[in-house]
């Protein structure tokens, strides 16, 4: 297979108002995010000829929240278009599919979008994710908590490690004015005092539900050099979808798709874990971060407890993770949270939370980005560089 290293780049990111934003449709967030990404890249509307969208959970199958309708509203006539739904891994997988598309001339510029009024609208996040409703298995939390309990049993996962992940994310959020918890610090005591939702998970092990949208634009490395902003190159990528649902899965305590897709991405990029300056990890739950970083080889299975310390992951630390506050403390956008943050960091546009001198961390050259969906059933890895 030909190497895709550095052949495609991300050239635009689009944000929207986020958090609790009542009175907005999911489609309106897709539209605004895409519009802002196109403007950010300095592109004319007519130049965008590819579109991938992740339909909101509450609207899968709804023709009014479909790619063609989004293209119409944006005034786009495209030659590459699809709805893309591998759950939380969609953002990373979209970037990969868009990269292949532009390199093989299926499109010049592909806009990839997400948007949902998940907090204010008719959210499905409390419904059964995939089965078990008759046993009261509500929410994605059911499967992840079952996985986490298995992690406790098999290798000593647990709140002792998870509190570090939660507190570090909060410290980053405290530097991000757009974050849900910007003004609210979290101590270890706050973590332990947060109520048990689905034991072994407390409230602060669980991500937010947010209104809002995000978008990004992928093009070839060559075209990227003519765009308005500095390109962020896709150095390495990989996917691994274990697919099996939690009750039948053998990966609840790892290794998850991070291992195979991570090895693929390292190989393509020609780097090792030592070259990674920061990680933006899909954090639907604290435990997901622990399993993902183990999969990427940053520590041996079961040694997360020693490795994952808030002072290392937080501002000023030697291993920065989820520098926007992540989905635990900034906003939940099906993994677009992680990808857009990596782009903003590599461009040096992250303000008070900017990696490098501002936060006494390494200058970011290379950032690893994970996406994970279902209950550890889908996984994408991207290695991005500036």
């Amino acid at each position: 297979m030909e190497s895709m290293k550095d052949k495609a780049a991300i050239v635009g990111v689009g944000y929207t108002p986020q958090g609790k934003v009542p009175g907005r449709s999911s489609m309106s967030f897709h539209i605004e995010a895409a519009r802002n990404a196109i403007e950010d890249a300095g592109l004319k509307i007519g130049q965008v000829d590819g579109l991938l969208m992740q339909p909101p959970m509450a609207a899968i199958g709804d023709p009014m929240v479909a790619p063609a309708y989004l293209a119409q509203k944006l005034g786009l006539r495209v030659r590459f278009m699809a709805a893309h739904d591998v759950w939380g891994a969609s953002a990373g997988c979209m970037a990969q599919h868009a990269a292949w598309a532009v390199v093989h001339e299926l499109a010049d510029y592909v806009v990839c979008t997400y948007g949902e009024n998940a907090l204010s609208g008719t959210s499905e996040y409390g419904a059964a994710l995939n089965g078990g409703i008759e046993y009261g298995m509500f929410g994605a939390v059911a499967g992840y908590a079952l996985a986490a309990r298995r992690g406790i049993y098999e290798f000593g996962a647990g709140p002792e490690t998870w509190k570090e992940i939660a507190v570090a994310a909060r410290k980053w959020a405290n530097l991000n004015p757009a974050a849900r918890y910007h003004d609210r610090p979290m101590s270890y005591e706050d973590y332990y005092n947060s109520r048990l939702i689905v034991d072994p998970f407390r409230l602060f092990d669980i991500c937010l539900i947010s209104d809002g949208g995000r978008a990004f634009i992928v093009t070839t490395a060559e075209r990227a050099r003519d765009c308005k902003k500095k390109p962020v190159y896709i150095m390495g990528m990989g996917q691994d979808h274990s697919a099996t649902n939690a009750p039948q899965a053998t990966h609840l305590a790892g290794p998850i798709g991070a291992k195979v897709s991570g090895e693929e991405a390292y190989k393509m990029a020609g780097v090792t874990r030592k070259d990674i300056d920061a990680c933006e990890i899909y954090d639907c739950f604290t435990y997901t971060v622990e399993l993902t970083l183990a999969g990427y080889g940053f520590f041996a299975p079961g040694e997360g407890k020693d490795f994952l310390k808030a002072e290392r992951l937080a501002p000023g630390g030697d291993f920065p993770v989820n520098t926007s506050g992540g989905q635990l403390s900034e906003a939940y956008f099906q993994g677009f949270t992680a990808l857009t943050e990596a782009i903003v960091q590599l461009r040096g546009e992250a303000g008070k939370r900017q990696l490098g001198a501002v936060t006494k961390t390494r200058e970011p050259e290379i950032i690893m980005v994970s996406h994970n969906g279902g209950v550890l059933q889908t996984h994408s890895t991207l290695i991005l560089r500036r």
Binding site: E134, Y135, Y153, V198, D199, A246
Partner: protein
């Protein structure tokens, strides 16, 4: 009093499973080609893609593979049930299934402990396979 909790989503594929459950039998598809017992229901065996299956009766003995305790009622009908346990049961014959563990103190549940099947007749048409602490397999 009517049963207010969500019922299983019964479709063309899983209807036999729930019909057997109504008769208080736990039956799953056993591949006639390779003998693999699969769950959830599927048209083909995920190991060998054989279309030939028989609905084999399981002993109902198993062990706790994992479990969680709900402290939040995501549905009003569960308000009086919390805390309640959702578990993955490793059945003696090989497959694993989600269910509830009932009739015990939540703090007594542990991974690996033996459990036994019973049927909860929640409506006239639907019986749910559930588990209690037991002899196991």
């Amino acid at each position: 009093m009517s049963y207010e909790k969500p019922l299983p989503i019964i479709d063309e594929d899983n209807a036999p499973y729930w019909e057997y459950a109504r008769e208080h039998q736990l039956r799953m598809q056993k591949c006639a080609g390779c003998g693999h017992i699969r769950f959830p229901v599927s048209l083909v065996c995920p190991r060998c893609h054989s279309l030939e299956t028989e609905w084999t009766k399981l002993s109902g003995k198993g062990k706790v593979y994992s479990y969680v305790i709900y402290h939040q009622a995501y549905h009003p009908a569960y308000k009086d049930d919390i805390p309640y346990a959702v578990a993955i049961i490793q059945l003696k014959e090989g497959p694993r299934m989600e269910s509830n563990i009932t009739d015990c103190h939540m703090e007594d549940i542990e991974i690996g402990m033996p459990v036994e099947l019973y049927f909860d007749d929640v409506t006239g048409d639907v019986s749910l396979p559930k588990f209690r602490l037991g002899e196991g397999g």
